[in-house]
Amino acid sequence: MSPWIYVAIIVVSTVASDVLQSWEMKRQGEVMDFGIGRLLRTLLSKAPLIASVVFLAISFYAFLALLQVADLSFAVPATALSLVAETVLARILLKEKVTAARWAGTALVAIGVYLLAF
């Protein structure tokens, strides 16, 4: 199978996972207690966090498959296409204030990711 099919699966599931996780953790408020048990309990008791882990598992499964057919130095950056999509969704869905510096930095990272594919 073409590596790009794996990349597409990874990008879509990563974006879904991150947006869900960020949205729910903001609702939970700033974490002050960093016990692993406490964090795990939070992770397993909230539906959006459970869904985010399911999407992450899909992304991980596809990533393992990708590593079999591509170099690590291609696999990891190629999956970073999700970065631009996530910034756009952070602005629209999470209502974050994405400043000019943040857009510029994100664009630079995205260009870097594109170049890494060569």
């Binding site: 992450l56 393992l64 970065l83 943040r102 870097g112």
Partner: protein, 130 residues
């Protein structure tokens, strides 16, 4: 104005997120190229998970998920994503050093763009909501 405490906490957690991610990916890649065979079937997926390197990789990536979850409880997603992308650069360097992967000049140029973008976003406040 964001408190110094929160800025310091953000930097520490961003460092933990990057370290667990880079080392976890490296362990996975090493395991997949040294012994573990994955053909897409559910059975081979179960067998791959028992490779020691893959196990270490999974443990590190579990640490990555939890530390990232904590970081996202106060920092913006649009801050966390680009800032932790510095991990891509470290992944590429580890691939070149230990996995004998070739990094072309264009890949190096891409790497420098990622570093520049990471620094640029890192200079913004990690939290923009009131």
């Amino acid at each position: 104005m964001l408190s110094k405490r929160l800025v310091r906490k953000t930097r520490w957690f961003a460092a933990i997120v990057v370290a667990t991610n880079v080392l976890g990916n490296f362990a996975l890649s090493w395991g997949m190229k040294h012994g573990a065979a994955f053909d897409g079937s559910p059975l081979s997926f179960v067998l791959v998970v028992f490779n020691p390197w893959v196990l270490v990789g999974i443990a590190l990536l579990a640490g990555w998920v939890l530390s990232r979850m904590a970081l996202l409880s106060w920092a913006d997603l649009s801050y966390v994503i680009p800032v932790t992308s510095i991990g891509f650069v470290l992944n590429a360097i580890m691939g070149a050093l230990f996995l004998q992967e070739t990094i072309s000049p264009l890949r190096w140029l891409g790497t420098f763009c990622i570093v520049g973008g990471t620094v640029l976003v890192g200079l913004t406040a990690p939290k923009t909501e009131p």
